[in-house]
Symmetry: C2
Subunit: 140 residues, 2 copies
DNA sequence: TAATTTTACTTCTAAAACAAAAGTAATAAT
DNA sequence: ATTATTACTTTTGTTTTAGAAGTAAAATTA
């Protein structure tokens, strides 16, 4: 189940990890949806199948993009959180938000278009500030 | 063969279009590899199968991300070029280069690490300048 | 404390997508 | 006129995905 790299191209290699319809949605849910458990991810609007979700979570943990942890008083619930490597995916996701806002605009959710508007005021500042926020929520 | 959107989330919608291992590699080849023909894309290092290539090119043209054209004196060769919508994918690709450089660094091609280094000096400037370059090569 | 529910998965099967190889039609070069 | 090239299409076998159902451990409820 490990990731194979097709070449030494950084774009190709990023796609070897991120290039599917679900991986970045899990990252999105943690980054912007305050989600952290298997159940949380399962209940997202796009209806990911549980088998695929389990597969992607395992991959992301193996790759060091997610950290798998527990809360001290609960032995059942598994908490997934972003590592630094995961937090650094923020710019990619932000650029996807902007690209969709510019190019698929009429079909995008209004709440998200507001966010896009805000990001456009100062993208670099948004990424810096939001990165600080994500680090403050990080497990370690 | 048309693209269906799973939700009105801009990230999900971007992934409905870009979320696979090949689509952005074609964009990369046009943006950074001076490639423009079916044969050019076929000969890339990652060895895309011809059926998948044909499928992706058709999709990207339907979506208005690529333009399908010909040269005046050649009836055989098909020239694919980026539209404005396609050029606007540059930030996403640049961020993938940077993420891979930072997080998969040791396995990334040295030439590309040089590019990453250059981009890091001033990302916004690089994107602006390179966008101008891409627009100058654009078909219309 | 016993029964029920919840959580985080795993398993199964059918459908869809993909990979590799081979084939084709039109055009271009020799 | 023959051969090669380009841009695909087709075919077949394999892998991945989607959807439904099942399971084990832990937590909650009666």
């Amino acid at each position: 189940m490990d990731t194979k790299f097709r070449s030494s191209c950084p774009i190709s290699s990023a796609l070897d990890i991120l290039g599917d319809k679900w991986t970045l949605l899990i990252i999105r849910d943690i980054m912007f949806g305050k989600k952290s458990t298997f159940k949380d991810f399962s209940s997202s609007g796009e209806k990911i199948a549980s088998g695929i979700l389990a597969n992607r979570l395992a991959k992301l943990e193996t790759l060091g993009i997610l950290h798998k942890g527990k809360l001290p008083d609960n032995k059942k619930t598994v908490i997934y959180s972003l590592t630094q490597k995961g937090i650094e995916l923020l710019p990619i996701i932000v650029d996807m938000i902007l690209w969709s806002d510019n190019n698929l605009g009429d079909h995008v959710d209004e709440k998200m278009r507001e966010l896009a508007k805000k990001i456009k005021l100062d993208k670099e500042a948004f990424i810096n500030n939001y990165t600080v926020h994500l680090r403050s929520v990080m497990a370690w």
